[in-house]
């Protein structure tokens, strides 16, 4: 009884085979049904993510949020969907029509691709790809393409600037992300997400806290959410890449971003928070789905917390933060993890995990010391009196004023 998904799949398999279909065809039909069900669940969750997001932002800003339609405003997202569907569909003059219309589809579809590798429980997962972690990076690359297509095809300079910023941000943050993703791969000795979860008797966040933070930060940057939402910075480039989109086409970008945030929560919990692991999840795999979604929504809440707490960073700060801080730190963590993995004994697992944790704490302490000394120098530099603007000497009426100290 603990595993209804497998039971339903077996029942369907028996039923279809009983009708005399070939085994290959039965497998194909089951796969198609699985894909349709998974995609539908993801998209239905997505509708209510709009409500959840608005409730979160309201709470962080000391408001109540949607509360008029239905209990707790739960019917609000459905009204929003109807509104988006019946809005006028505008294609800007000079837009590249085909590319313009494909871009929002790509923005949402690439997120759904990620759900193929999420391990929901010990027995329920799309596929245990042996290159799962790399697959996540590859799908991220395709989603970048969707944003570039939207920015270019809109025939709008703000949209184009948004697309440029996207490239600068996503291509840069991919570097520390890929390096940091290798740390759980080293710990689990596999790139498949299911295998990584299977290895986490002790959650990897204990053995690799710095890598977890790096993956989290770089994933928020890939997502393009605050504080990394330079792609759609309202105060600078109006709305960035989706400035010209109306109605449901804009809705697809918005829904894609929300679902991507949730999916990143899922990937993070699979990599570092033990995925479906929790009390009773091994005997009753259905409980694993519950634990997985709990962790996924918790990480989504953390992402929302970050979004509504931090101000947007400048573009030079964004690049400096990536190349001068995240990338070197990720390289150090990767090398230390790889060396310790050979040195530490694997047998009592807690010794191995605690050894890794100690190494991570040392790295964190050294990093903080370096940052502190840098900050001290920077404060001194800022505190020094800068050159004072003086009026030109030729003007006799202001010569008197310029000789007096003006500090």
């Amino acid at each position: 009884m603990g595993d209804p998904v497998t039971l339903i799949a077996q029942w369907l398999n028996g039923l279809l085979s009983g009708w005399g279909l070939a085994p290959g065809l039965v497998t194909l039909i089951l796969i198609v049904i699985g894909v349709v069900v998974l995609a539908t669940i993801a998209l239905v969750i997505d509708i209510f993510m709009v409500w959840l997001e608005r409730k979160f932002v309201a709470r962080f800003q000391d408001r109540i949020g949607p509360n008029r339609l239905g209990p707790f405003g739960l019917v609000q997202p459905l009204a929003d969907v109807i509104k988006l569907l019946i809005k006028e569909d505008i294609t800007p003059f000079g837009a590249d029509k085909i590319v313009y219309n494909i871009a929002p589809i790509m923005a949402l579809a690439t997120v759904l691709l990620l759900w193929a590798v999420l391990p929901f429980s010990a027995t329920t997962y799309g596929t245990n790809l042996n290159v799962g972690v790399l697959y996540i990076v590859a799908v991220g690359a395709i989603s970048t393409l969707g944003i570039i297509m939207a920015g270019w095809s809109s025939n709008n300079k703000y949209a184009l600037i948004g697309a440029f910023r996207t490239v600068a941000q996503m291509v840069s943050y991919e570097v520390p992300m890929v390096i940091a993703l290798l740390v759980p791969v080293i710990l689990a000795r596999s790139m498949g997400l299911k295998d990584i979860v299977d290895e986490q008797v002790i959650w990897f966040i204990v053995a690799a806290p710095i890598a977890a933070i790096l993956v989290f930060v770089t994933n928020i940057a890939e997502l393009g959410r605050a504080p990394f939402d330079l792609v759609e910075a309202e105060s600078e480039i109006v709305a960035g890449f989706h400035i010209e989109y109306t109605g449901m086409k804009f809705g697809l970008f918005y829904a894609g971003e929300l679902l991507h945030a949730l999916t990143i929560g899922g990937i993070f919990s699979a990599l570092f928070l033990g995925g479906w692991r929790g009390p009773g999840a091994e005997t009753y795999p259905i409980l694993g789905i519950f634990w997985f979604f709990l962790k996924m929504f918790f990480m989504y809440w953390v992402i929302a917390w970050v979004k509504y707490t931090f101000p947007r960073i400048r573009i030079d700060q964004m690049l400096n933060f990536n190349w001068k801080f995240l990338t070197p730190l990720a390289l150090v963590v990767l090398v230390v993890t790889a060396i310790l993995d050979k040195v530490l004994p694997h047998e009592p697992l807690w010794v191995y995990s605690l050894g890794m944790l100690a190494a991570n704490l040392v790295i964190a302490w050294v990093t903080l010391q370096i940052l502190r000394s840098r900050a001290r120098k920077e404060r001194q530099r800022v505190a020094e009196p800068g050159p004072i603007a003086r009026p030109p000497e030729a003007n006799p009426s202001t010569t008197q004023a310029s000789t007096t100290p003006q500090v």
Binding site: G24, D96, V99, L129, N130, V131, L134, Y135, V137, A138, G140, A141, I142, T144, L145, I148, M149, W152, L160, A163, F164, V167, V171, E174, M191
Partner: protein, 169 residues
């Protein structure tokens, strides 16, 4: 004809069509997007051949890095994002002739190779290939020296790029 062959023919047609569109399309950004489609088709071929790692690496490197940088370069170059003039110049006859001769030659050579007609050997366990690839890249008996030489080459390119971009004070 098996289902796999139908899938192969469909994808091959799509990939070749996209590759032709790279050359035919008059708008350079469209060409770049068709190139992305072509590269994705090649990734699908890798996936069909059970080379999952190569398929994903193809997407990460060629679509995620090279194609996006190409689109970026096109967008940063003035006045090339609009439609251009005719895509052919007077030498197109010569190009077509040389391409036909090359294709004919390669096809003739391959037809005499026995691997062209014999069916593929069945693969063993799927998960082994990635581990074998990793071991081969760092094993002294196989490819560790080419692997390291390639890393040094990339490092040299990286340092060269920094030196070119470096503003001396």
């Amino acid at each position: 004809m098996s289902a796999m062959q139908i899938v192969f023919i469909l994808i091959a047609a799509a990939t070749l069509g996209a590759a032709a569109m790279v050359v035919i399309a008059r708008n350079m950004v469209h060409s770049a997007l068709w190139l992305v489609a072509t590269l994705f088709g090649v990734a699908v071929f890798y996936a069909i051949l059970n080379a999952g790692f190569l398929a994903v690496a193809q997407v990460v490197i060629y679509i995620g890095a090279i194609a996006i940088l190409m689109i970026f370069a096109i967008m940063l170059t003035r006045k090339v994002t609009g439609d251009m003039g005719p895509g052919l110049n007077p030498n197109w006859m010569w190009a077509a002739l040389i391409s036909a001769v090359m294709f004919g030659g390669i096809a003739w050579m391959l037809s005499s190779w026995q691997g062209f007609s014999s069916p593929l050997a069945a693969l063993g366990s799927r998960d082994d290939s990635l581990q074998q690839l990793g071991m081969a890249l760092v094993s002294p008996d196989y490819y560790v020296i080419p692997f390291e030489v390639a890393s040094v080459l990339l490092l040299a390119a990286l340092i060269g790029a920094i030196m070119v971009a470096w503003e001396r004070k």
